[in-house]
C-alpha cells in the first residue's frame, strides 16, 4: 500500500489489525525518521527513492502508528490492551535521511545511510554501516559495531564491546565492561576509554592529532605507522610498557610509571593509560 501524505498536516496512519504492516509513505527531502520500539528489532535499509517503506511483523493485537507532518516521520507501535508484545521492523529510507532510533529489547541496525544517525538501545546490539556528519550510538547492555562513518562518531556501551572500522572523522568510543576496537581510523581526534577491557587502535596518527586511549583493567595496543610524529605519554600504576621499536624517554615524570617520549618531530599527542594492564606500541 502506498500513501502520499499531505505535507504540513500531522497525520497518523494506523494499520488495521492483522499479522503485519507494509506501507510506503512519500516524504520530502530533509525529513527525519524517528522509530521507537519497546520490543523487537529495527532494521533500516536505504534506497534512492523519496519515500519510506515500513514493513513490520507484529501480532494482530498490536498496530503500527505512523505520523508524518512534513518534517519528522514517526513510527511506533501500540496495542489495544497494554504494551505491544513486540514488533520487528524493516524500514527502507532515502539514503540521506537522518535517523533517530531507539529500542528497549531488540537489536537495531542501519545499513548504507549517508544521513546523521542517533541510536539508543537498552538491551540490544547496535550495528551501523554508514552515517555522515554526526553519528551517535549507545547501548546499555549490548555491543556497538559501526563502520563507514564520515564525520563525528560517538559510540558507547555500558556492558558491551565497541567496535569501530573505517571511520574518517572524530572518534569517541567508550564502554565500561568491554573492549574497544578501533580499526582503519583516519582521524586527528580520537578518544577511547573503558574500565574493564582492552583497547586497540589501528589507524593514522596525524601530525596535529590528539589520541587518548585509557583503560583501568586491560591492555592498550596502539599501532604507530612509520613516519609518525608524536609525543607519547604513557601512564600506568602496575602495568607494563612494550614497544616494537626503540624509544628514548625525554623526561621521566615522577610517580611510578608515567613517562613521555617523542617519535619524530613529536607534533601529535598520544596519551596511553592503563592502570594495571600492558601498554604496547606496535608497527602496522
Amino acid at each position: 500500500m502506498t500513501l502520499t501524505m499531505t505535507l504540513g498536516l500531522l497525520a497518523a496512519l494506523v494499520q488495521a489489525p492483522g499479522e503485519g504492516t507494509d506501507t510506503t509513505i512519500a516524504v520530502r527531502a530533509g525529513t527525519r525518521l524517528e522509530v521507537h520500539n519497546l520490543s523487537g528489532d529495527i532494521i533500516v535499509r536505504t534506497w534512492d527513492r523519496n519515500s519510506v517503506r515500513v514493513q513490520a511483523e507484529h501480532s494482530s493485537r498490536d498496530r503500527v502508528d505512523i505520523g508524518y507532518g512534513g518534517v519528522v516521520l514517526k513510527i511506533s507501535a501500540s496495542s489495544r490492551r497494554g504494551a505491544p508484545r513486540g514488533v520487528d521492523y524493516i524500514v527502507t529510507v532515502p539514503v540521506a535521511m537522518d535517523l533517530n532510533l531507539s529500542g528497549t529489547y531488540g537489536d537495531i541496525s542501519v545499513d548504507g545511510s549517508t544521513g546523521r544517525i542517533n541510536i539508543e538501545s537498552v538491551q540490544g546490539d547496535v550495528a551501523v554501516r554508514g552515517g555522515r556528519s554526526l553519528v551517535t550510538l549507545h547501548s546499555v547492555g549490548g555491543d556497538v559495531q559501526v563502520s563507514g562513518v564520515r564525520g563525528r562518531l560517538e559510540a558507547s556501551s555500558t556492558n558491551g564491546e565497541v567496535t569501530v572500522d573505517d571511520v574518517e572523522g572524530e572518534v569517541y568510543a567508550e564502554t565500561t565492561n568491554g573492549d574497544v576496537m578501533l580499526r582503519d581510523i583516519r582521524s586527528d581526534n580520537v578518544s577511547a576509554t573503558t574500565v574493564n577491557g582492552d583497547i586497540v587502535y589501528r589507524g593514522t596518527i596525524g601530525d596535529n592529532g590528539q589520541y587518548r586511549l585509557s583503560t583501568h583493567n586491560g591492555d592498550v595496543t596502539m599501532t604507530v605507522p612509520v613516519g609518525t610524529n608524536a609525543t607519547v605519554t604513557v601512564s600506568t600504576f602496575s602495568g607494563d610498557f612494550e614497544s616494537d621499536f626503540p624509544v628514548t624517554l625525554t623526561g621521566p615524570s615522577r610517580q611510578g610509571k608515567r613517562f613521555s617520549f617523542t617519535i619524530g618531530s613529536g607534533r601529535a599527542t598520544l596519551e596511553l593509560e592503563s592502570f594495571q594492564g600492558s601498554i604496547r606500541l606496535v608497527r602496522p
Binding site: 546499555v140 555500558t158 556492558n159 576509554t193 601512564s235 608515567r258 592502570f275
Partner: protein, 225 residues
C-alpha cells in the same frame, strides 16, 4: 535549561562583559532563577579550582570542561588573554579532572534530579579537608559534591528500580560494581601517592564515569515512568 545568557555567565563572573551587557545580564538574573543557580555553581567550581595547588598545565583541557556546562561556544572561544587563557595557566590536568568531576556532580543534581540542589551546593562550597597535616589531592577537594550527587542518584535508582526490568538492573549493578572496584583500587594507589597527576586524573575520570552511569540509570527510570 539554558537561554541566551547562560553561556555568558562565565564572562560575567570574570568581569569581561561590557557595561551594557553587564546591566542586561543583571536584569536577566533578577528574573531567571535557573541562571542565578548556574552562576552560583560556576562560582563554587571556580573558587574550588582556584583553591587547588597551582602548577603548570600539561595541556589545555578547560574547553572540554567548559563544554560540559555549555559555556564553550565558538563565538566566545578563547579570546587571547581572556578568561579561558587565565584558567589554563592555573589548572593542572588533575585539577581540571577534579573540576570536571565537580561540574558533573553539580549538574547531576541539577539536571537529572527533580529535587532541590541545596545539599549538593552546600557540600560543594564547604572548605576542603585541609589542615590535617596530609596532602589533599585535587579529587579529594571535590569529594563532598561527588558523594552527594552519587547518593542522590543512587536514591533515584533505588526508588525506580522496580520500573526497570531485571536484566537492565543486573547490567547497571554489575557495571557499578566494576566501576566501584576500579575506584577502590585507584584510591588505594592514590593514598600511597596523593600527588600523582595520573592517579588523580584517573580517579576523577572513573568517578565521573560512575556519575554518568547513574545519570543514565536515572534517565532509564524516568523513561519508564
Amino acid at each position: 535549561m539554558t537561554d541566551q545568557w547562560t553561556h555568558r555567565l562565565s564572562e560575567y563572573l570574570d568581569g569581561e562583559l561590557s557595561a551594557t551587557e553587564r546591566l542586561q545580564i543583571e536584569e536577566h538574573l533578577g528574573g531567571c532563577p535557573a541562571c542565578r543557580e548556574t552562576l552560583d555553581e560556576l562560582r563554587v567550581v571556580v573558587a574550588r579550582a582556584a583553591s587547588l595547588e597551582d602548577g603548570a598545565p600539561e595541556r589545555d583541557l578547560w574547553p572540554a570542561v567548559a563544554e560540559r556546562i555549555g559555556a564553550a561556544r565558538p563565538e566566545v572561544e578563547q579570546p587571547a588573554g581572556g578568561r579561558w587563557r587565565r584558567l589554563r595557566l592555573t589548572l593542572t590536568v588533575p585539577q581540571l579532572a577534579a573540576a570536571a568531576l565537580a561540574l558533573m556532580a553539580v549538574s547531576a543534581g541539577s539536571v537529572w534530579l527533580a529535587r532541590p540542589r541545596r545539599p549538593i551546593m552546600q557540600e560543594a562550597a564547604a572548605p576542603p579537608a585541609a589542615g590535617l597535616g596530609v596532602t589533599v589531592s585535587p579529587v579529594a577537594a571535590v569529594e563532598g559534591a561527588y558523594q552527594s550527587a552519587v547518593r542522590d542518584l543512587e536514591r533515584v535508582l533505588a526508588e525506580g528500580r522496580g520500573r526497570l526490568d531485571t536484566a537492565t538492573v543486573r547490567v547497571l549493578e554489575q557495571n557499578l560494581r566494576i566501576i566501584d572496584a576500579a575506584i577502590t583500587e585507584c584510591r588505594r594507589a592514590l593514598a600511597a601517592d596523593p600527588a600523582s597527576p595520573y592517579l588523580n586524573a584517573h580517579l576523577a575520570q572513573t568517578m565521573k564515569r560512575k556519575l554518568e552511569l547513574l545519570r543514565q540509570a536515572s534517565r532509564l527510570v524516568a523513561a519508564r515512568t
